[in-house]
Symmetry: C2
Subunit: 250 residues, 2 copies
DNA sequence: CGCCCTATTGAATATAATCAACCGCCGTGG
DNA sequence: CCACGGCGGTTGATTATATTCAATAGGGCG
């Protein structure tokens, strides 16, 4: 992680294309409820280009990832950049920018990708279904839970369990799209993985070796094959470092 | 942390009291914008009682903490309970439950506290100002950012920096309420602190000693006096463990 | 007054960081 | 076409931060 991740051309690569009216994924937009025409035209972002960057003025939009994938990069207090999330195909970006003047993070395409913009400010919502706003509520709340899960894993697991959890998460998200749950390609570098998981790239390397030896998965370059998802799940659910339980406390 | 934190009486202690119409904090509810009558009557929760518990059916409400404080407790994959957040006086609870059937976490009062319920489901919103929903959007997005900050700290800082960050955060939140930024009482146990920061209680103890020696603060039982907030901030902004930067990547 | 729980302290251990070297791939350019 | 250079990734040896286990101390409450 002292070395750099994929280089980024600091250029927005927006190319207007087919309109989202025709988009096959449209029902997924804000849940099945939102069938209104709410999304703008598709925007193409090429690999390593950023959809928006930390400090950019916010455009009062969230983004729906239609194809491809992104990494979210934020700045730690001391200014060091870190990967704080990944957004795969039917997921959303910029849910954390509502009410801000400046983007709190960057979104960098991990491969050639497409997104749609969805405005969330008052004017844009006028005349549109209330359901849409409800959908946004649900989306935002879900995102809170996702972040909480991340924080949970960072608090009380070893690197081993974090990696297993991420792999399973990617697997599920692929499966939800109708792709194979056991074979897929990692869109991100080892360095990005490490940054997101809060460990060093060296540590990731060693973990991969360890996991391969245990026949948990196979991994060539960026192509994963989960050999024993059950074992991975058991690993995630295994014992944890920082102390034990918080007694009853619930 | 192998030992238990404050014991909890698993009983809801709801006592209807003064109506929120009269609440002095009301303008803070959903930002200054929401001056509507949106909140229900006050609910009193006594120390160590839980407002809601993991697995409870959700009541389609968020809660505004009017006085006192809460800890949020969630279950890690293996079932171990962990403190995933603290909610101080004019903050909100259950923002992560929208769209769920069951509460994903528990909220336990750290002292005798009061909350107001605010319904977020469709019927309850009827006839109420749209601003309110906008306010909720902003609130939810802000909560996402808060969680992201937590995850950020957990990823690439040592325990030392995490504790400093939390103390400064508590300080700010107190100051925002008009209380002293340098002298306040910690409502939570060392154990809760440790759980939230992702370290052991022993580690917290040692850190406290270390910080005292450095004249960063004074701490007796649960009473903190920040002696050198600037130094604390510098500490937070100091160098970090997991590797260095993510190159340009932004 | 004494018990229990929380907090603290100490010594040994472990997971992951750090530093450093090396390798293999890929695109560039001679 | 092949050599070069850069980058991403891997491996090794050492070190450090924080865990673990264990024992003790201090406060609050009955």
């Amino acid at each position: 992680m002292n070395d750099s991740p994929s280089p980024v051309r600091n250029v927005r690569q927006h190319t207007e294309q087919s309109n989202c009216e025709l988009c096959v994924h449209r029902p997924l937009c804000l849940g099945a409820a939102a069938t209104e025409r709410i999304a703008g035209p598709r925007i193409r972002i090429e690999r390593n280009a950023s959809l928006f960057q930390l400090g950019d003025p916010v455009d009062h939009c969230i983004y729906s990832v239609r194809s491809g994938s992104f990494k979210i990069v934020s700045a730690a207090p001391h200014g060091v950049l870190q990967v704080t999330g990944f957004a795969l195909a039917p997921e959303f970006l910029a849910l954390n920018a509502l009410g801000l003047e400046r983007q709190p993070c960057s979104a960098v395409a991990l491969e050639d990708s497409e997104v749609c913009r969805i405005s969330w400010d008052r004017q844009a919502f006028k005349g549109r279904r209330q359901l849409l706003r409800s959908g946004l509520h649900l989306l935002l709340s879900k995102e809170i839970r996702r972040e909480q899960h991340t924080a949970l894993m960072l608090r009380n697991t070893h690197a081993e369990q974090r990696l297993a959890d991420l792999l399973l998460s990617l697997s599920q998200r692929h499966a939800a799209n109708g792709y194979s749950a056991t074979r897929f390609r990692l869109p991100m570098s080892r360095c990005d993985l490490a940054s997101f998981l809060g460990v060093t790239a060296e540590c990731i390397s060693r973990l991969i070796v360890k996991f391969k030896r245990r026949q948990l998965f196979d991994l060539d370059r960026r192509d994963v094959t989960l050999l024993d998802p059950t074992a991975l799940q058991q690993l995630v659910a295994g014992q944890t470092p920082p102390g034990g339980a918080l007694a009853q406390a619930a």
